[in-house]
C-alpha cells in the first residue's frame, strides 16, 4: 500500500492497565497497529494477551490508559464505547457460531437489513458457497472457522481480532488454515490482531510479532527480527530452541568454550563491555557437531530425530548445553565426544550472564 493512509495507525493502545482483584492482567501496555497490518500477540497462557484482545473489543474496560480505533478514543478518559459501536470484529477461540442459525444467517447477523450481496461476497471469500444453508454442527472444524471469519468480516470492521484462532483445529489442519486465514485477511485488507501461544504460528502468520509476559509487552518487531535478536532471555526462550553459551568479553570479541566469537559477530557489542561475563544465544541451526580434533568440546547427551533432521544436545565441560541441528545423514550416538562449530552467518544476540549457583 502506498497511499498516505497506509502508514496511519488504526489501533492504538496507550499505557493500558487492567487488573482483576488487585492482580494486573495487563500492565502499562502501549501498542500501535498500522492500517492493513497483521500483528500477532504471542505469550504463554495467562500473560494477558486475551485480556488485551477483550479490551480492544470492548468486552472489558481498562482501569487506566486509552484505546483508540481509527483515531478516535473508544476507552479511557472516563468514557467507554460499547462493543457494538466500536467497528471491531472478534473471532472467538471456540468460534461462538450461533447454533440455531444457518451459515448464511450467522454471516448476515452483523449486517444491516440482510445485505445478501455482502453475504455472497463473504461466502465466496472463504470458499463456502455450497454450505450457506447448513447449521454449524454440520460443518467441520475448518469450515466453522471460515464461517466465524466471514461473520466477523461481513460488517467491514476497522480491526479484526483473532483469539487463539487455530487452537481448536487438528494439528494437520492448522498449518493449512494459517495460510488460508492470512490470505483471507490480506484479501479483505483489514487490520488484524491475532493472539496465540504458538511461536511457530505467530512467526509464520504475521507481519509483526509482539511477545507478552506477565501483562507486559516485552518486544515488538518483524518475526525474523524478534527471532534473531530477542531483547530478553524470556523472548529468546519463548521463541524456542534457545541455548546459551557463556563467555567473557575481551578487546576483540567474546571468549567461549567453543572458541573466540569476534566483536562483529555479536549484536551490538562494543569494547566498552570488556571484562563482562555474557551469555550468547545459540540456536540449533547456528551450531554443528563435528568429530573431535584433539580434545573434544563436549559430549552428546541427547538425540532427537524428527524426520528431516537430527538435533543433538551437547553438554560442555562448564555445564552449558548447546543444540546442534544436522541433516539426517550425519549421525552420532549418545555419549560420543564431539567438537562444536558455530556457523556465524549472522550476529548472535547476547545477555548479561546469569549468576547461577
Amino acid at each position: 500500500m502506498s497511499t498516505a493512509v497506509a502508514s496511519e495507525n488504526v489501533l492504538e493502545l496507550d499505557c493500558v492497565t487492567k487488573t482483576y482483584g488487585g492482580e494486573p492482567a495487563v500492565e502499562n501496555l502501549s501498542l500501535e497497529v498500522r492500517d492493513g497490518e497483521f500483528l500477532a500477540l504471542l505469550g504463554p497462557s495467562g500473560c494477558g494477551k486475551t485480556t488485551t484482545l477483550r479490551l480492544v473489543a470492548g468486552l472489558e474496560t481498562p482501569d487506566l490508559g486509552e484505546v483508540r480505533i481509527a483515531g478516535s478514543s473508544v476507552a479511557g478518559q472516563g468514557k467507554t464505547v460499547k462493543p457494538e459501536e466500536r467497528d471491531v470484529g472478534l473471532v472467538f477461540q471456540e468460534f461462538a457460531l450461533f447454533p440455531h442459525m444457518t451459515v448464511e444467517e450467522n454471516i448476515a447477523f452483523g449486517l444491516e437489513d440482510d445485505d445478501n450481496g455482502r453475504v455472497d461476497e463473504m461466502l465466496e471469500l472463504v470458499g463456502l458457497e455450497g454450505h450457506r444453508d447448513k447449521k454449524p454442527d454440520q460443518l467441520s472444524g475448518g469450515q466453522r472457522q471460515r464461517v466465524a471469519l466471514a461473520r466477523s468480516l461481513a460488517p467491514e470492521p476497522e480491526v479484526l481480532l483473532l483469539d487463539e484462532p487455530f487452537s481448536n483445529l487438528d494439528v494437520s489442519l492448522r498449518v493449512r488454515m494459517r495460510e488460508e486465514v492470512r490470505r483471507i485477511v490480506k484479501e479483505a485488507g483489514v487490520t488484524t490482531v491475532t493472539v496465540t501461544h504458538d511461536q511457530e504460528e505467530a512467526l509464520s502468520i504475521s507481519d509483526r510479532v509482539g511477545v507478552m509476559r506477565d501483562g507486559r509487552l516485552e518486544q515488538v518487531g518483524r518475526p525474523e527480527e524478534v527471532f534473531q535478536t530477542p531483547e530478553s532471555r524470556f523472548v529468546a526462550d519463548f521463541l524456542g530452541h534457545a541455548s546459551f553459551v557463556s563467555g567473557k568479553v575481551d578487546e576483540d570479541g567474546v571468549s567461549t568454550p567453543l572458541g573466540k566469537v569476534g566483536m562483529a559477530n555479536v549484536e551490538g557489542l562494543t569494547p566498552a563491555y570488556e571484562g563482562a561475563e555474557v551469555d550468547l544465544l545459540v540456536r540449533p541451526d547456528d551450531a554443528t557437531a563435528l568429530p573431535p580434533d584433539g580434545e573434544a568440546d563436549g559430549r552428546i547427551i541427547h538425540r532427537r530425530y524428527d524426520g528431516p533432521s537430527f538435533t543433538y544436545r551437547v553438554e560442555l565441560p562448564n555445564g552449558d548445553t548447546v543444540h546442534c541441528m544436522h541433516n539426517h545423514t550425519e549421525s552420532f550416538e549418545i555419549g560420543d565426544e564431539v567438537d562444536v562449530r558455530l556457523e556465524l552467518d549472522h550476529p548472535l544476540a547476547w545477555y548479561p550472564a546469569e549468576n547461577t549457583a
Partner: protein
C-alpha cells in the same frame, strides 16, 4: 472345571447351545415378569375408564358439557397457564441473575431460589390461607387491606411460589451450558445487549425454559392440596369433593378424572413435540458478565424477599402456632408421635415395594433395548402423568367393586397406590445404573467361570445397588408428603402427618397443623440434600 488345569477348555457346541437356551429362557422370564408388573401398574387406569363407561351416554354427555364442567375446565386451564406464565416470569430472570451477573454469593442465592421446590405447595397453602385468607390472621397490614389469598387467584399465587424453581433450575442449566461467548460475539457484531439476548441467548436457552415450564404446568394441573385448601374449583379438588359428598363415588368423578388426564396428555404431547434440544455447545467461555452496580442490592433484596415469603413465612407461622393455644381443644387433632411413625412406616413400605417392582422392569429395559422393553418401561411411567387424585379415585373403584377385603382394611392397597404414583423415580434411577453396566463387565465375569446367577449376585447387583438405594430414598421422601391417595385410600384409623394437616384445615383449627407441617418441611429439606448429593451439588 478341574483346578490346576493349565489350558482353558473351550466349550463344546452342545454347551454353547445350552447356554444360549438358558439365556433366552432367562430373558423371556424377565420380559414376562416386566409385563406382569407393567400391567399391574396400568390397571388402575382401566378402572377409571370402566367406571366412566357405566354412565349412560346421554347422561355422560350432559355432564361433560354442563356449565359446571365448563367452569372447572376453564379454571384448571387458567390455573395451569397462569402458573406457567408467572413461573417463567420469576424463574428466567432469577436464572439469569445467578449465572450472568456479578450478584454476590451466587451459590447461596441459587439454593435460596431453588429451595421452595422441596416444600409441598399445600404446606405453603395452609400457611398462607390461615394468615391471609378470609378469617385469617391478617386482613390488613398497617391499615392497608391486603388482597385475600384464596380461591383460584390464591391457588395460582401459592403454586407459582413453589413451582417456579422448575423453570429456574432448567433455565439455569441451559444458561450454564450455553457458551457465553455467543453473547459477546453478538455484541462485537454491532448488536446491543438487549438485541443480543433476544436473538442469540434466548433461542439457545428456549428448550431449557420450555422443559421447566412444562414441569410447572404439569404440577399445577395435577396439584390437589393447594386448590383444595384455597377452595378453588379445579379438576383435582372437584374430583375429591365428588368422591367425598357421595361417599359411593359416581361416574361424574370418573368423567372429570378422564378429562384431567386428557389435559395432562395434551401437555405431554406438546413436551414430546418440543423435545430435547441438545445443540447447545458446552463451552466454558469466560464471557463477560453484567455488572449490576447498585442494582445488586435490589436483586439480592428481591431473591431474599422471595425466600422469606416461600420459606420463612410458613416456618414462622407454624412455629408461632405451636406456642399458641386458643380456641377449643380438639383432642382428636392433638399431635401424637404415632402419626409420624405411621408416615414413616407407609413410606418405607412404598420404597421397598417400588424398588422390587423397579428392578426387573429397569433391568430388562436397560439390558434389552427392544420395542417391547421400551413399551413396558414407559407403561410404568404412568404415575408421572396421572395426577395423584386420579390414582386415588381409581383405587377407590378397584377397592369398592373388586377387592372390598383390601379397601381401607390394611395398608396394601394404599402402598400399591404409592408405588403406581412414584415408581417412575425408582425405575429411572435403577435404569440409569443398569445402563452404566458394560456388556463386557458381565462377559468378563462369565469368562471367569461365574454362572449367570452368580454373575448377577456378585457383579450386577452390587453395581445397581446405588441406583436402587437412591430410588428408594426418592420414593420414601415423596411418599411421606403424598396427600390425595393417602386421603382416599388409607385404612380406617390410620392417621399420618399429612392427614393431620388436612384435618386441621378441615376443622379450621390451623394450630394443629403446625407440628406435622414442620416435620414435613424438615423431611422435604432432607430430600433436597439427597437430591443435591445425587447430582454432585449445584455448580
Amino acid at each position: 472345571m478341574r483346578r490346576g488345569e493349565d489350558t482353558v477348555r473351550l466349550p463344546t457346541r452342545d454347551e454353547i447351545r445350552k447356554r444360549l437356551r438358558e439365556a433366552n429362557t432367562a430373558r423371556a422370564g424377565l420380559a414376562a415378569l416386566s409385563a406382569v408388573l407393567a400391567l399391574l401398574i396400568v390397571s388402575p387406569m382401566l378402572w377409571i375408564v370402566w367406571e366412566a363407561s357405566t354412565v349412560e351416554t346421554p347422561r355422560a354427555y350432559e355432564l361433560v358439557v354442563s356449565s359446571q364442567t365448563a367452569s372447572i375446565t376453564a379454571n384448571s386451564i387458567a390455573l395451569m397457564l397462569a402458573v406457567t406464565f408467572f413461573s417463567i416470569l420469576l424463574g428466567v430472570p432469577l436464572a439469569f441473575l445467578t449465572t450472568r451477573t456479578d450478584l454476590p454469593h451466587p451459590r447461596f442465592w441459587t439454593v435460596v431460589a431453588a429451595l421452595p421446590l422441596v416444600i409441598p405447595s399445600y404446606i405453603g397453602a395452609i400457611a398462607f390461607v390461615s394468615m391471609f385468607g378470609s378469617g385469617g390472621e391478617f386482613d390488613t397490614f398497617l391499615g392497608v387491606s391486603l388482597p385475600r389469598v384464596e380461591g383460584l387467584s390464591g391457588a395460582i399465587f401459592v403454586i407459582t411460589l413453589y413451582t417456579y424453581p422448575y423453570v429456574f433450575l432448567t433455565t439455569r442449566a441451559a444458561l450454564v451450558s450455553v457458551d457465553s461467548s455467543l453473547f459477546d460475539a453478538a455484541r462485537t457484531l454491532n448488536r446491543g445487549p438487549v438485541e443480543s439476548f433476544r436473538r442469540v441467548t434466548l433461542p439457545t436457552i428456549r428448550p431449557g425454559i420450555a422443559a421447566g415450564a412444562l414441569l410447572a404446568a404439569l404440577y399445577a394441573v395435577s396439584d390437589f392440596g393447594t386448590p383444595a385448601f384455597m377452595q378453588a374449583s379445579v379438576f383435582t379438588s372437584m374430583i375429591y369433593w365428588e368422591f367425598e359428598n357421595y361417599n359411593t363415588p359416581v361416574g361424574y368423578a370418573a368423567l372429570l378424572a378422564l378429562q384431567l388426564v386428557a389435559i395432562v396428555a395434551v401437555v405431554l404431547v406438546i413436551e414430546a413435540g418440543i423435545g430435547r434440544d441438545e445443540d447447545a455447545s458446552g463451552g466454558e467461555g469466560e464471557g463477560s458478565i453484567i455488572r449490576l452496580g447498585r442494582w445488586k442490592w435490589a436483586a439480592m433484596g428481591f431473591v431474599g424477599l422471595l425466600g422469606v415469603v416461600t420459606l420463612v413465612v410458613p416456618v414462622a407461622v407454624f412455629t408461632v402456632w405451636i406456642f399458641r393455644s386458643e380456641g377449643d381443644r380438639i383432642p382428636a387433632l392433638e399431635f401424637h408421635p404415632e402419626f409420624a411413625f405411621n408416615s414413616v412406616y407407609l413410606a418405607l413400605l412404598a420404597a421397598v415395594v417400588a424398588c422390587l417392582f423397579a428392578l426387573p422392569v429397569a433391568y430388562y429395559s436397560g439390558r434389552a433395548n427392544s420395542f417391547v422393553s421400551r413399551v413396558l418401561e414407559r407403561a410404568t411411567y404412568v404415575g408421572f402423568a396421572v395426577p395423584g387424585v386420579v390414582i386415588g379415585l381409581a383405587l377407590v373403584f378397584l377397592g369398592l367393586n373388586t377387592l372390598p377385603s383390601l379397601y381401607r382394611q390394611g395398608v396394601w392397597l394404599l402402598v400399591f397406590g404409592y408405588v403406581v404414583r412414584f415408581l417412575p423415580q425408582a425405575v429411572g434411577t435403577v435404569r440409569s445404573s443398569v445402563l452404566q453396566i458394560d456388556d463386557s463387565t458381565i462377559e468378563a465375569a462369565r469368562t471367569l467361570n461365574a454362572g449367570r446367577l452368580e454373575t448377577f449376585r456378585r457383579v450386577t447387583l452390587p453395581m445397581i445397588a446405588p441406583g436402587m438405594v437412591a430410588g428408594a430414598i426418592l420414593v420414601f421422601l415423596t411418599t411421606i408428603k403424598e396427600l390425595p391417595i393417602t386421603l382416599m385410600v388409607r385404612p380406617i384409623g390410620m392417621e399420618t402427618l399429612v392427614i393431620k394437616v388436612w384435618q386441621a384445615h378441615d376443622a379450621l383449627a390451623y394450630r394443629y397443623a403446625a407440628i406435622p407441617a414442620l416435620l414435613l418441611i424438615l423431611i422435604s429439606g432432607l430430600s433436597m440434600l439427597v437430591l443435591l448429593r445425587q447430582e454432585g451439588g449445584i455448580r
